[in-house]
Symmetry: C2
Subunit: 346 residues, 2 copies
DNA sequence: AATTCTCGTGCAAACGTTTGCAGCAAATAT
DNA sequence: ATATTTGCTGCAAACGTTTGCACGAGAATT
């Protein structure tokens, strides 16, 4: 007996229908669809024709229940507010579409409990793999994923020694380059606003900044370093503090673009001009960075590319579970906009 | 024979295991889970205990295959770049989590073909319902959804006469209020930057603006109306044009916040001060509107609330398909920030 | 000419649920 | 005391796939 009365005209076509139409068994249809086993060229063609003719759409539930794929990957992010995630998702999305995969989105809103909960649910059947952007509670479940051989890829998660596959960007080098650029322009007092320091990428950026100063025999002045949290208000606040200093910095390097926008606000509000009075540099190159005036000078993280590469890696792992985990660090690039110039006083 | 060798320690617990543990048949377990039919209180308790003890997680595929729910709703959006969508998703997400539902995300990147494709795929089994944010190609599939009785809710889609359920905001009233506010402050020449005019909400906002002018016996000057597309650069460009006018407007009303940010940029770049020289007002009240300085005066759309309400409506329709479609228009609210004041010359 | 191999195909089991139906015991009505 | 209802439970079918196994026919080997 049917468990549920199917809507009259939800014209569900199954492989059985296709089989009948093509004059083969449904098993053969399945073989054609999955390119498994040998199928007579003639029969294969009849099947394919029947499929397009009847408008066959596979039932994902049945498929994955029977041991096939669910053709879903889960994506775990903190929130969607900033352009940062949007760019990454663009890459993921695009790459998934190519492989006919679907995306299940989970936003944790930075609540750690949610994170673990999602992961267990997802990995028990709903998804074929998992993408984790900047996870905060990774230790809680990564071990279990690894043990069970469940495919996953970390995005932008430098930090805790990690055995699994991951994709990131050259945070240290990017910060080093940006700082070096400011020094080369003639800046000597360069303010720095950090990101959330519990994240690996924030640490790396701070280290890159310091390393560049040292490489140029400049002192590291702690009063020039403000702690931020990657959100715009903390950039604003940090800049206000930095501009209060008697011998105020001639340049400010914010650990991401959102905070750099906050810095721009603060500088202008103080009646100072960008870049005449203060040079500003950001990190990420989110789309909005190209929309402000003057265009923000920033360290481009290939965000879309990161999403893309991570997805490719994940899909490859799904297709070949034996694939050894790979750790990729994509290169950042200094994008010269209009927010930096040589300091006046030089 | 097993179709697929299950990973050794992917300790999958089924209702059969629960049944054994609790000393009842698996059918009874199912009844407990779904709260269907009568189950002895004692047995029910044993089952529940066994479930928590063994850590049961339902297999969604099997469940929906057997005619139950998939506990997934699909969400169709254009892109994730702006805070606008992020806010809506926050509401959706939250409401879904409460009902133990999952979110499948589809970004169309404004390509209409993708839109229809997603919809057919989703509705053939993967999802229990569909949320559509600002769809562009709705005519192509809405009719079919309605006919098949597939639950869906439109978000922020005013426009084409629509029989189905939808949630929007009072675009006309919001624009009317904002314009009236500027007029009350003493502004007589008020620039307006439209959104994408093919969208219903853009039309309504434009009409609201015009209506407010008329209500105050002010002429509608077409040179004061610039066409935009909801993205920041178009706000910048529109403002540049408006500021060129010999008798330039003393206030500019942008049809959304992104464009208002562009306007702020343009105004400052021209060496003008906000709000001394030019008052600015936006629409949406995205989080960033509170982060710029001075805080943007804007018309708040209850975005999160819209997502929340739409989700509630969708879930109700899923639970009770007979539920008559409802059309909701949530009230907007004028948020007074620091970007408006009385014009100097008055 | 008899044997083995390969290729193509169909049968049927399995995946983990939901739910109609039947059965049985206890409670109620006659 | 018998008949009927009611409450609870189990059985088994169905959902739409994937895939191991078996079988038959022709090709290749001996």
């Amino acid at each position: 007996m049917r468990a549920k009365q199917r809507d009259k005209d939800s014209d569900r076509i199954t492989i059985i229908d296709i089989g009948k139409e093509a004059g083969v068994s449904y098993a053969t249809v399945s073989r054609v669809i999955n390119n498994k086993g040998n199928v007579n060229t003639d029969a294969r063609e009849r099947v394919l024709r029947a499929m397009t003719q009847l408008g066959y759409v596979a039932n994902v539930q049945a498929r994955s229940l029977a041991g096939g794929r669910s053709y879903v990957v889960g994506l775990l992010v903190q929130d969607l507010g900033t352009g940062y995630i949007g760019e990454i998702i663009r890459g993921i999305d695009d790459e998934l579409a190519k492989a006919q995969y679907n995306l299940m989105l989970f936003t944790t809103h930075r609540r750690k409990v949610k994170e673990s909960l999602f992961v267990t649910n997802l990995t028990k059947g709903s998804a074929d793999g998992l993408l984790l952007v900047l996870p905060r509670n990774a230790e809680a479940y990564l071990e279990s994923l690894r043990r069970r051989g469940f495919p996953y890829v970390l995005i932008d998660h430098q930090g805790i020694d990690e055995l699994g596959p991951s994709v990131g960007a050259s945070n240290w080098q990017g910060a080093f380059d940006a700082t070096s650029y400011l020094i080369k322009l003639g800046h000597r007092r360069i303010g720095f606003i950090t990101g959330t320091l519990e994240l690996g990428c924030s640490q790396k950026r701070l280290e890159g900044y310091k390393a560049a100063l040292r490489a140029n025999d400049l002192a590291i002045d702690p009063t020039l370093i403000q702690e931020g949290d990657f959100y715009q208000p903390s950039g604003y606040k940090g800049a206000i503090e930095l501009l209060k200093i008697s011998q105020r910095p001639t340049a400010i390097f914010a650990s991401n673009d959102s905070m750099a926008f906050g810095v721009m606000e603060a500088v202008r509000e103080q009646g100072l001009s960008i870049p005449n009075d203060v040079s500003i540099i950001g990190f990420d190159d989110v789309p909005q960075a190209a929309n402000v005036h003057p265009r923000l000078t920033t360290v481009r993280q290939p965000l879309e590319q990161m999403g893309r590469v991570a997805t490719t890696m994940l899909l490859e792992t799904i297709n070949n579970p034996e694939r050894p985990p790979e750790k990729l660090e994509l290169a950042t690039e200094l994008i010269i906009g209009g927010t930096c110039q040589a300091p006046r006083s030089v």
